[in-house]
């Protein structure tokens, strides 16, 4: 598991152009966010112009990895060593972050222009910039201090963004999220303290070499796991998720559900693969909770009346699929083939869900903005007047349901294969139940939208491009299934 995360020595030193690309990938979103706070963009093209260097830096980093394999950076600042690494998985997650971030940024001017004017809206830009920079740092960081800094920056900026809508419900939900996120990070910090006290180092590569199973590793893993699970909204601690999304702005919800939650999950898997290699019980507990999450999240999404709660609850269920894979990734006595399949399926599912969920939130935001109603019943008659938004919602749900040829299908195919080889029948059952429940709540939403008997009311026209951005995200999630060999080659870690 360790080599898959790229925690080994690199062969080549990074080139100068790669250094520049790294600086731009990490710093540019933040700088552009500050600039946008001073001069808030009203149109899409200045945002697009500002996003070009970020996308270019991602491209340069991808080609650098293609040529040189794993790359490492290390600095010593006042006796503290900080290190970054770039392997196939981090490149992939970095590109995902950049594309979804750019899509959300492009979506924002139109969405802000159409909703009622807000005094705080200019603060969205710097917070979004900090969020994207912190996320990029999380995928690259390979020591616990950098991870902690990035995690905290990401958490605080995410809370700030969710609060901007300024309604009382949003403030209450946001305050709760703030307190839980802060306490979660303290649990993480306590785990790190135990690690630092016992093994005296913070770099992941060195820790992977010296950590041995024992009470300290178990307690540290439990503390870190509890803190990160709280931030990732893993099943029993998902209560804060739906209220937070219910009142947030659309691009904020899209970024949060697609990326912020995944970052905590990524850290959890990475740190547990160092602290708890080949343990039996801890991954089983996560998997059991994941099965409950699939059922409970699906039921919540099926029973709800609000469109945003439906999308948010479906996130809880979709995270359940990822949790169910934990025993295959971390458990003992798993043959190499199912482990490799589970690894590829896990990340493909995560990335596919990120694109699909961002598209789904944008489609839901478009529907809510156009109809002015946030309930499912308010969607009546939209099939005639807003077919494109519904189509985007449909394409995104195809990925969530795992119908071919979407990335959800490819990911679930890989996961099913791994589960069948290692004979984990309960996981297979959970996967199939989840698919049925997803179909149930998606079709329930469509049933309301095809109801033509409703009285016609006025629809707010959308800004140009808002549908196109969401559509391109949904089609990316769809197309990743057909072009899965690119992503899988990157994820295999070794050579392309």
């Amino acid at each position: 598991m360790i080599w898959r995360f790229g925690l080994f020595e690199s062969t080549f030193a990074p080139l100068v152009s790669t250094h520049w690309a790294l600086c731009i990938a990490l710093g540019f979103p933040f700088l552009m966010g500050l600039l946008a706070a001073l001069f808030p963009p009203k149109r899409m093209w200045p945002v697009a112009l500002a996003c070009l260097p970020v996308l270019a830096s991602g491209w340069v980093l991808l080609s650098a990895y293609d040529q040189a394999g794993l790359l490492r950076w290390q600095w010593d600042v006042a006796g503290v060593s900080l290190s970054l690494r770039l392997n196939g998985l981090s490149v992939l997650l970095l590109l995902t972050t950049q594309w979804i971030g750019v899509a959300a940024a492009l979506y924002t001017p139109g969405s802000l222009r159409l909703s009622e004017p807000q005094p705080l809206s200019r603060w969205l830009w710097p917070l979004m910039g900090v969020l994207l920079s912190a996320l990029s740092l999380i995928w690259l960081a390979s020591d616990l201090l950098t991870l902690y800094v990035a995690l905290e920056l990401m958490g605080l900026s995410a809370v700030g963004m969710l609060l901007l809508s300024g309604k009382v419900a949003a403030l209450l939900a946001g305050m709760r999220y703030l307190l839980l996120a802060l306490v979660g990070s303290l649990a993480y910090l306590l785990g790190v303290a135990l690690i630092l006290g016992h093994w005296g180092r913070l770099d992941l590569q060195g820790l992977a070499a010296v950590v041995e199973p024992g009470p300290v590793a178990w307690i540290a893993a439990a503390l870190i796991g509890a803190g990160l699970a709280l931030k990732a909204a893993l099943f029993p601690m998902h209560g804060w998720l739906s209220p937070v999304h219910g009142n947030a702005w659309t691009p904020v919800s899209a970024l949060h559900a697609a990326l912020v939650i995944k970052a905590s999950l990524f850290m959890l898997l990475q740190l547990w693969s160092i602290l708890l290699p080949d343990t039996f019980y801890a991954p089983r507990v996560i998997a059991l909770l994941g099965m409950l999450a699939i059922v409970w999240g699906g039921l919540l999404a099926w029973r709800t009346d609000s469109l945003k709660t439906l999308v948010a609850s479906s996130t809880v269920a979709q995270l359940g699929y990822l949790m169910v894979v934990f025993p295959l990734l971390l458990g003992p006595d798993i043959a190499p083939l199912p482990r490799a399949l589970a690894w590829e399926g896990f990340w493909l599912q995560l990335i596919g869900h990120a694109f699909a969920k961002a598209a789904m939130f944008m489609a839901a935001g478009n529907l809510i903005l156009a109809t002015g109603e946030s309930t499912l019943k308010g969607l009546a008659g939209t099939s005639r007047r807003l077919p494109l938004s519904l189509l985007i919602f449909g394409v995104a749900s195809v990925t969530l349901m795992g119908l071919p040829p979407s990335s959800g299908f490819t990911a679930k195919w890989l996961l099913l294969e791994a589960m069948l080889i290692s004979q984990q029948w309960w996981a297979v059952a959970a996967l199939l139940t989840g698919t049925l429940l997803t179909a149930a709540y998606v079709f329930r939403m469509f049933r309301y939208s095809f109801d033509d008997s409703a009285p016609r009311h006025h629809y707010q026209p959308l800004a140009p491009g808002m549908d196109l951005i969401a559509l391109s995200l949904a089609l990316t999630a769809f197309g990743l299934g057909l072009l899965a060999h690119f992503t899988l080659a990157l994820m295999r870690g070794g050579g392309v």
Binding site: A78, G79, V80, L145, Y148, V149, E152, L156, V159, G160, L163, G166, V168, L171, L172, A173, G174, M175, R176, L178, L179, L182, V183, S185, L186, L189, L190, V192, A193, L194, L196, G197, H198, G200, R201, L202, P215, V216, I219, A220, P236, M237, G239, P243
Partner: protein, 226 residues
């Protein structure tokens, strides 16, 4: 010399624990905030005592001054006329809930104590007396209990800050005051301050929009099953 050193440390540990408990459980909110500032000053002394002057400076600036200002701002002490200011809150929790939270705090106490016991015995030096570490365990346990028990948002923010200081104290006790540990604690202090500032702004905004009642319930009462 060593004996006097130890006495000072024990005195500090006692002071920390007492101010923390007073801050967590005093019903009068202004007094609780004053106790918080006293606690932060005691933490400053403790960092100095542990041989980390940099941390002492950061704690004094961020912990005592800036976070203290955040709390008094949230209480409405700066602009008394603008909106209603807060005085005190009441505990009207059912006994079952309080008992469950007490059990939670005790379980936490036992777990962290056991972990630290394990780490400390494995380390090269053998500390005979570590009153500050003990104080850290006590403070984290009681702060976690208070965080779970209280529903008032300002109290939860206070409990989070105390919990943070306790965790930093544990970190310094377990890992020493090496450069990495100091860096971690500095980052933690900055984050705690930013979080407190965000929380204070939120509390003011909620008071402005909804009045004092909004702070008593944390979110929707239905969702408070956890």
């Amino acid at each position: 010399m060593i004996a006097s050193f130890d006495a000072l440390e024990i005195l500090l540990a006692l002071g920390l624990t007492v101010t923390a408990l007073a801050c967590l459980f005093d019903r009068h909110l202004v007094r609780a905030c004053c106790f918080f500032v006293a606690f932060a000053l005691a933490m400053t002394l403790a960092w100095w005592q542990l041989g980390a002057p940099w941390l002492a400076a950061v704690e004094l600036l961020l912990g005592a001054v800036l976070t203290g200002l955040c709390f008094f701002y949230a209480l409405g002490r700066f602009f008394p006329g603008v909106s209603s200011s807060l005085e005190r809150d009441s505990f009207n929790e059912p006994w079952s809930r309080s008992f469950a939270r007490l059990l939670l705090a005790l379980a936490w106490f036992v777990m962290v104590g056991a972990a630290i016991r394990y780490v400390i015995t494995d380390m090269v030096y053998s500390p005979d007396e570590q009153p500050l570490l003990l104080a850290g365990v006590m403070i984290t346990a009681s702060a976690l209990g208070a965080f779970a028990l209280h529903r008032h948002l300002l109290r939860r923010l206070l409990a989070f800050n105390i919990l943070g200081s306790g965790v930093f104290m544990l970190l310094a006790g377990v890992a020493g005051t090496s450069a990495s540990a100091q860096a971690l604690i500095t980052v933690g202090l900055c984050i705690a301050w930013l979080g407190s500032m965000l929380g204070a702004l939120l509390i003011r905004q909620l008071l402005h929009l909804e009045g004092v009642d909004a702070l008593g319930r944390d979110g929707n009462p239905k969702e408070n099953a956890t």
